[in-house]
C-alpha cells in the first residue's frame, strides 16, 4: 500500500530503493575496482533491464531502454541524496 495515499508507480518506491542501493555500491564505491562495486554494477544493469522488459516495454512503447536507464540512474541519485543518513 502506498505511503500517505501517494500513488505508486509501475516502478515502485521499493524497486527504486533496491536499485539505489546497488547504484550506491557501484557508482559511489570508494574503490571502483573492488569486487563489490563490480558485482553491484552488474546486478544494477540486470535489474534495470529486467524491469524494462517486464513492466515498461509491454506498456510504454515510446520509451527506449536507454532513456529508461538514464531516468532510473537520475532517480537513484535523488533517492540517495534524500534518504542517506
Amino acid at each position: 500500500m502506498p505511503e500517505h495515499g501517494v500513488p505508486e508507480g509501475v516502478i515502485s518506491r521499493e524497486d527504486l530503493a533496491k536499485l539505489a542501493a546497488l547504484f550506491d555500491r557501484s557508482e559511489y564505491a570508494l574503490d571502483p575496482l573492488s569486487l563489490s562495486a563490480k558485482e553491484a554494477e552488474s546486478q544494477f544493469e540486470d535489474e534495470v533491464l529486467m524491469l524494462f522488459r517486464e513492466r515498461v516495454e509491454p506498456h510504454y512503447s515510446s520509451i527506449s531502454f536507454t532513456v529508461f536507464r538514464c531516468k532510473v540512474r537520475s532517480l537513484c541519485r535523488a533517492y540517495l541524496r534524500q534518504n542517506s543518513p
Binding site: E3, H4, V6, P7, G9, E27, Y28, L30, V67, R81
Partner: protein, 142 residues
C-alpha cells in the same frame, strides 16, 4: 570554520606530487641503482595514495551534488588527473620496472576508465533530462 576547498583546489594541491615523482625518476643517471629504486618507490607510493584519496573525494562530492553538469565536470577533471599520472609514468615505467611503477600505471589507467564511465553516464542523464515520462511510470514521491 566555514572556509572550504572545491575539487579544483584539491587537484591543484595534488598535481605537484605527480611532477615531483617525475622529477625524482628522471634525476638518477642509473635507474637500476638501489638508491634510485628506493627513492622512486617512495614517490610512487605517495602518488598512489593521492590517486586513491582524490578519487574518494570525487565520489563524496558527486554523491552530494545535485547538479549533473557539476558531477560531469568532477569526473572529467578526475579523469584528467589520472591521465596526468599516466603521462608522467609513460617514460618511467621501463627504466623502473621493479619499483611499483607498472602497478601504479595500471591503477591510474583503471581509475581513468572508471572516471570516464561515470562521466559518460552523467552526460547521458543530462541528455535525458528533457524527456517527458508518462505519469504513473515512476513513484511520485521518492
Amino acid at each position: 570554520m566555514k572556509t572550504c576547498l572545491n575539487f579544483d583546489d584539491l587537484l591543484q594541491i595534488n598535481r605537484p606530487q605527480i611532477d615531483e615523482m617525475q622529477r625524482v625518476g628522471e634525476s638518477f643517471p642509473d635507474p637500476n641503482s638501489p638508491s634510485a629504486c628506493e627513492a622512486f618507490t617512495q614517490q610512487v607510493r605517495l602518488v598512489e595514495g593521492l590517486l586513491r584519496q582524490t578519487y574518494r573525494v570525487a565520489v563524496a562530492l558527486t554523491k552530494k551534488t545535485e547538479d549533473l553538469r557539476e558531477i560531469a565536470e568532477i569526473w572529467s577533471h578526475m579523469s584528467d588527473f589520472c591521465n596526468s599520472t599516466l603521462q608522467a609514468l609513460v617514460s618511467l615505467k621501463h627504466p623502473y620496472p621493479y619499483c611499483g611503477t607498472p602497478q601504479l600505471y595500471d591503477l591510474a589507467l583503471d581509475y581513468k576508465l572508471a572516471c570516464d564511465k561515470r562521466h559518460r553516464g552523467v552526460l547521458e542523464e543530462i541528455t535525458c533530462q528533457s524527456t517527458e515520462f508518462p505519469k504513473g511510470l515512476f513513484p511520485e514521491k521518492i
